[in-house]
């Protein structure tokens, strides 16, 4: 047997393609894949939101953002009111059957009487709200209403697709994504996009009324805030509520609904609001 020197032909073990072209094709493919995923996720948002565990929601929204920052000074008047509010929330929560959720409450200086719930159990009450409420029951109704939104996860649902997409990004990239979410919440709230529909408002009202009944034994004071708002409406000729509480059921409709409940369950003596809250 004779050894015959022969060169091995070129290109047997390598594929002759341009690496740059391959790179461009693959990265566009990946971008396309991600885009499709994001689109699918955002289409399925409403179905997916309810599967986000409460714990995850609280973790994602654990920050207190610019719009809902409780006072850092424990001696201040704001802090005193906030402590009072969170005690009231705790009492209301005791009246709830089923799962309990932790809430944080912040008072915001604003000329509009208002209250709203943000994802992660943050409840914000504006300072002028206290001038439109006479009793603790009335205040409990407002707080209970916001708690009702949170129990039904309305804020998260209202934030909607942004949250699902961000959550997906956070899961895939391994970051906690809280910075992105923080800026998103702030811009959503500023634009007044966090709105609830008619059914959601009514459900929150009903939750609040049932909490009132359990804690005080009657639903008296439930319509207090809305009565006061209606007076303001008559005076100024328009609904003074901005974004969050501007409701689809008109104020009159809600008052009628609530009054019917109050009439049915009977009204007893209302609890006075403490002076430091009334004068805040």
């Amino acid at each position: 047997m004779k050894f015959v020197p022969k060169p091995v032909p070129e290109g047997i073990n390598t594929t002759k393609v341009s690496h740059l072209r391959e790179f461009i094709v693959l990265s566009f493919g990946l971008i396309l894949l991600l885009t499709i995923t994001v689109i699918l996720l955002s289409l399925l948002t409403d179905q997916l939101v309810r599967y986000i565990p409460v714990k995850t929601e609280y973790k994602l929204f654990s920050f207190t953002h610019a719009i809902a920052r409780p006072s850092q000074d424990p001696g201040s008047a704001q802090s005193r009111v906030e402590q009072y509010l969170s005690k009231l929330i705790d009492r209301l929560q005791k009246g709830r059957q089923g799962d309990k959720q932790p809430f944080t409450v912040a008072v915001m200086d604003d000329p509009m009487p208002n209250a709203f719930a943000l994802p992660g159990g943050h409840i914000v009450v504006t300072s002028s709200l206290f001038r439109h409420i006479q009793s603790e029951n009335g205040l409990a109704m407002v707080l209970g209403h916001e708690m009702g939104h949170q129990y039904a996860r309305h804020p998260l649902r209202s934030m909607g697709r942004g949250v699902v997409v961000l959550l997906a990004i956070a899961v895939f990239t391994g970051t906690d994504g809280s910075e992105m979410i923080k800026s998103m919440v702030d811009s959503t709230v500023e634009l007044g996009l966090l709105k609830f529909d008619r059914d959601q408002e009514r459900a929150a009202d009903d939750t609040a009324v049932s909490l009132l009944q359990r804690v005080y034994g009657h639903a008296g004071g439930a319509d207090e805030f809305f009565q006061s708002i209606q007076k303001l409406e008559v005076k100024t000729g328009k609904n003074p509520l901005p974004g969050f509480m501007k409701t689809h059921p008109t104020t009159q409709e809600r008052i009628n609904h609530l009054q019917a409940i109050v009439d049915r369950t009977g009204k007893a003596k209302l609890v006075e609001l403490p002076d430091f809250v009334k004068n805040y």
Partner: protein
């Protein structure tokens, strides 16, 4: 933004340098392979018939690592599957270089042929500690060199 900038710069650097060195290496490989062609090399297990008076081990090894561009390209391939072309040329070059080094060693020491050549690969990477640590592959070619008695 800065991170994206760094990423693109690394990608371009990796692509530029990678392509340039690959081109030069292939040119060099072709010449050296042609020069070492007359040395018979087989992977037979038994020594061929002949009047040989000396036998010894010859070996050549190469350690290669990937450039940034190739690694990203391979990672993209990981998503879709298929031929990892960016690693193909890399390993092809390394294998040929290792065999060439072995042959050149044999020629230098006056051998007339190499039999029973083997090629082995070992990966050197700190996979346990961090995911994106630099990975490298060692390719070792070894065989038994024979010297004919004249």
């Amino acid at each position: 933004m800065v991170q994206i900038g760094i990423f693109i710069v690394l990608l371009l650097l990796g692509y530029g340098f990678g392509r340039w060195t690959e081109y030069r290496h292939y040119q060099q490989l072709l010449i050296r392979e042609r020069d070492s062609l007359p040395l018979p090399v087989t992977n037979l297990k038994t020594p061929p018939h002949g009047n040989f008076h000396k036998a010894y081990l010859v070996s050549g090894n190469v350690v290669v690592s990937v450039d940034y561009f190739k690694r990203i390209l391979a990672a993209l391939r990981n998503v879709f599957g298929g031929r990892v072309v960016s690693y193909e040329t890399l390993l092809d070059r390394a294998r040929r270089e290792a065999i060439l080094r072995m042959k050149e060693q044999a020629v230098q020491s006056g051998a007339d042929m190499i039999y029973n050549i083997r090629v082995e690969t070992a990966s050197i990477s700190k996979t346990s500690s961090r995911r994106d640590s630099v990975g490298a592959v060692e390719i070792l070619a070894y065989g038994t060199a024979l010297v004919e008695s004249k």
